[in-house]
């Protein structure tokens, strides 16, 4: 595979990552949301493997396998199991103002391109153009966490942000050193354990996973 093709495949996959991010931003059904998240993880994993092959950085294969097992298999499985246990499989969330959210998302993409311009100029890597997409994915994940009011959706937004960060590391520097990648994966695993417990606590205490119910802690006058 020559560099030209590799760069094209890389951009192509980046486009899909961004597409799934936008999809998640407005998807109402929690079930479909998890599917989108799984796809995003798969695109990332394939992308990482290809970059690792072309750039000759073999530790990226480990990152790729880690992403595959964690974000394509384990996390979606945990989320599935949780929503089955909590009987919220069919739940549909009301998402307010979809066009507006989409427009903000687009603005964030443009902003990301603007912000990462200095990095693109200095970088010599074939993946340099996708750093902006990675940052956009992080920002869209953030936007999703702000606009959505369901605990599961917020967590998926959080994990999508993490995907974006992983993508950024691959794009900017062909991945972080292995010890860091492993540590981050461990943190995500612990986080998964914690939000699993949380879902149960929130569900039993508030009888719903809608975080709108959690509004007791406010500044009183």
């Amino acid at each position: 595979m020559d560099l030209q093709t590799a760069a094209q495949i890389n951009s192509f996959l980046a486009a899909f990552v961004l597409l799934t991010a936008f999809g998640m931003l407005v998807q109402k059904r929690i079930y479909s949301l998890i599917h989108l998240f799984t796809w995003q993880g798969l695109f990332l994993s394939v992308n990482t493997a290809i970059v690792g092959y072309v750039a000759g950085r073999h530790h990226l294969y480990i990152s790729s396998i880690l992403t595959l097992s964690l974000k394509v298999i384990l996390l979606p499985y945990i989320l599935h199991a949780l929503i089955v246990r909590l009987k919220i499989r069919k739940e549909v969330e009301t998402v307010v103002n979809i066009p507006m959210t989409m427009l903000i998302g687009i603005a964030l993409v443009i902003f990301s391109y603007y912000l990462t311009a200095p990095v693109r100029e200095i970088s010599t890597l074939i993946t340099r153009s996708t750093l902006a997409v990675a940052l956009a994915t992080v920002m869209i994940g953030l936007l999703m966490m702000i606009t959505r009011k369901h605990a599961v959706t917020q967590i998926i937004g959080f994990l999508a942000m993490e995907n974006g960060l992983f993508f950024a590391a691959t794009s900017a520097t062909y991945g972080m050193p292995l010890v860091v990648e492993l540590g981050v994966a461990l943190d995500i695993l612990i986080a998964a354990f914690i939000f699993g417990i949380f879902f149960f606590h929130i569900h039993t205490t508030f009888d719903s996973l809608d975080v709108e119910h959690m509004a007791r802690l406010k500044e009183e006058d």
Binding site: V119, I122, M145, A151, D187, I194, F198, I202
Partner: protein
């Protein structure tokens, strides 16, 4: 060889204790195990400090760990406050259990996570790798999230969820900043783990690309700034610090905020070395001064005692951030001293607050009355703690705030009125409330109880002693740290 052994003990003991307590944390002697573990950690910390003091900075474990004057003093402080908190929590948690607020699993969880939290903080401080620094910071957050929701009340769960989500979002920004930093470093130091080592980075910082580092700092500031609790990223802090068990409030306010600020300052040194401007410092000063003002005015409106002192933590972290941003030998010295003093005073206040609220079974300040008569130790502890925290002489916070104020008048005179306004408002807000609580008659619902007085007295004695006379070794230590942070 000996020093790396010491390092191993320092990090190994809390990790091992966490594993053990995960199984036996609900036994009768578990609190004693907790204390013993923390005491061993503290001893190892002291031993390591002694060595660094005599021999200067050191690298250990294949450059993976790095100890210098800046991080070792925080490591000693962290292990010391964890030890006193463990002593305090022995009676406190036993009583909470009698009141039925925590069960068997809760106790196991509490003890194990407490030790894991100490491990994460120490790893944060001692690691040389800024990627691992990030990981340990996230671990410190994760290990405390479920402690905040330990009581399982609706408000506790809400607070913990907020803590989890907002800090998760914040810290993600810091990881992006770290990626950018690595990108810049790779150009100079080549690929691989070596280019994330702080010792390598700080030597080569003038070769790092300034535009990339400026961009990275924005993300690092937002990320670690969230964990420091700087306004406007502070929303989670008063909730998380007030809803959890009091020992956890003490270590969150007293220690974790310091660690996050430590990470931020380390990054600032790199950015300064690369840009050769006051760019990073200006950003920190801005965040600092806004935090001081917003927090001190918020103090006026508080009704819950733990919430009030949480806002006071935001204020004090704002002061330290502002001082580090200001830079220069006097301000940096003041900031280092301020971190130390605030940590000791604030955790001691939380200890007494914990006693007071257990005696009254409420955290509402309007219902806490007559502490002087009811339990003089708690009353005077709170009174002296409040005097120390608002910066009255002769306590140590007066010294550090005085230094910072002097440096501000010299280097950034326009900021002085804002700083003074913040300090003045905080003084009025806290004092007004504390006076009501300590004076007056004992209400009939106040229950007498035995209190753990050693931690409070120890902390207050240190704050007072350092305020009156700064020991030679400490000031020399700070001077070395100031040199490092130039």
């Amino acid at each position: 060889m000996q020093s790396s052994m010491m390092l191993l003990v320092l990090l190994g003991v809390p990790l091992f204790a966490a594993a053990v307590l995960a199984f036996v944390g609900d036994r009768r002697l578990a609190p004693e195990v907790n204390i013993a573990g923390s005491a061993a950690t503290f001893a190892a910390g002291l031993g390591l400090a002694l060595e660094v003091y005599e021999q200067g900075p050191m690298l250990a474990g294949g450059k993976f760990f790095f100890v210098d004057a800046f991080n070792i003093y925080l490591a000693v402080l962290t292990s010391f406050v964890s030890m006193t908190t463990a002593i305090f929590s022995r009676r406190y948690m036993r009583r909470e259990r009698e009141h039925g607020r925590v069960g068997h699993i809760g106790m196991r969880f509490y003890h194990a996570m407490f030790q894991l939290f100490i491990f994460a903080m120490l790893l944060c401080l001692l690691t040389n790798n800024i990627g691992v620094l990030w990981i340990a910071m996230e671990l410190a957050t994760l290990s405390t999230v479920l402690l905040v929701s330990l009581y399982r009340t609706p408000t506790a769960i809400e607070a913990a969820w907020k803590y989890f989500i907002l800090c998760g979002v914040g810290i993600a920004q810091a990881l992006f900043g770290t990626v950018l930093l690595y990108f810049a470093a790779e150009k100079v130091l080549g690929e691989g783990g070596e280019s994330l080592l702080w010792t390598n980075l700080s030597q080569m910082s003038d070769k790092l690309e300034p535009t990339v580092l400026s961009l990275a700092f924005v993300f690092l500031m937002v990320g670690y700034g969230t964990k420091v609790g700087l306004v406007p990223l502070h929303n989670w802090l008063p909730d998380a610090h007030s809803e959890g068990p009091t020992p956890i409030s003490a270590v969150l306010s007293g220690l974790l905020l310091n660690i996050a600020l430590y990470a931020l300052v380390r990054c600032k040194v790199l950015v300064d070395g690369s840009t050769h401007t006051h760019y990073a410092g200006n950003i920190m000063m801005g965040f600092g001064i806004v935090s001081i003002l917003v927090a001190s005015f918020s103090l006026l409106r508080q009704k819950d005692i733990k919430r009030m002192f949480s806002y006071s933590s935001i204020e004090h972290m704002g002061i330290a951030t502002f001082a580090f941003g200001l830079g220069g030998p006097i301000a940096t010295f003041g900031a280092l001293l301020h971190m130390l003093m605030h940590s000791l005073a604030k955790s001691s206040i939380f200890f007494t607050v914990g006693h007071a609220s257990q005696m009254h079974r409420t955290q509402e300040m309007d219902k806490i009355r007559g502490l002087f008569k009811g339990n003089p130790l708690v009353g005077w502890g709170l009174m002296f703690g409040a005097m120390a925290i608002v910066g009255m002489p002769p306590f140590g916070i007066f010294t550090s705030e005085f230094l910072i104020l002097t440096a501000t008048m010299k280097d950034a005179p326009l900021m002085t009125p804002f700083l003074l306004l913040g300090l003045g408002v905080a003084f009025a807000a806290i004092f007004r409330r504390v006076q009501q609580m300590v004076a007056g008659e004992v209400p009939e619902y106040q229950k007498p109880m035995k209190v753990a007085h050693v931690p409070v007295m120890l902390h207050m004695a240190l704050v007072l002693a350092i305020g009156i006379y700064l020991p030679d070794f400490l000031s020399r230590w700070f001077h070395t740290a100031v040199e490092l942070l130039k």
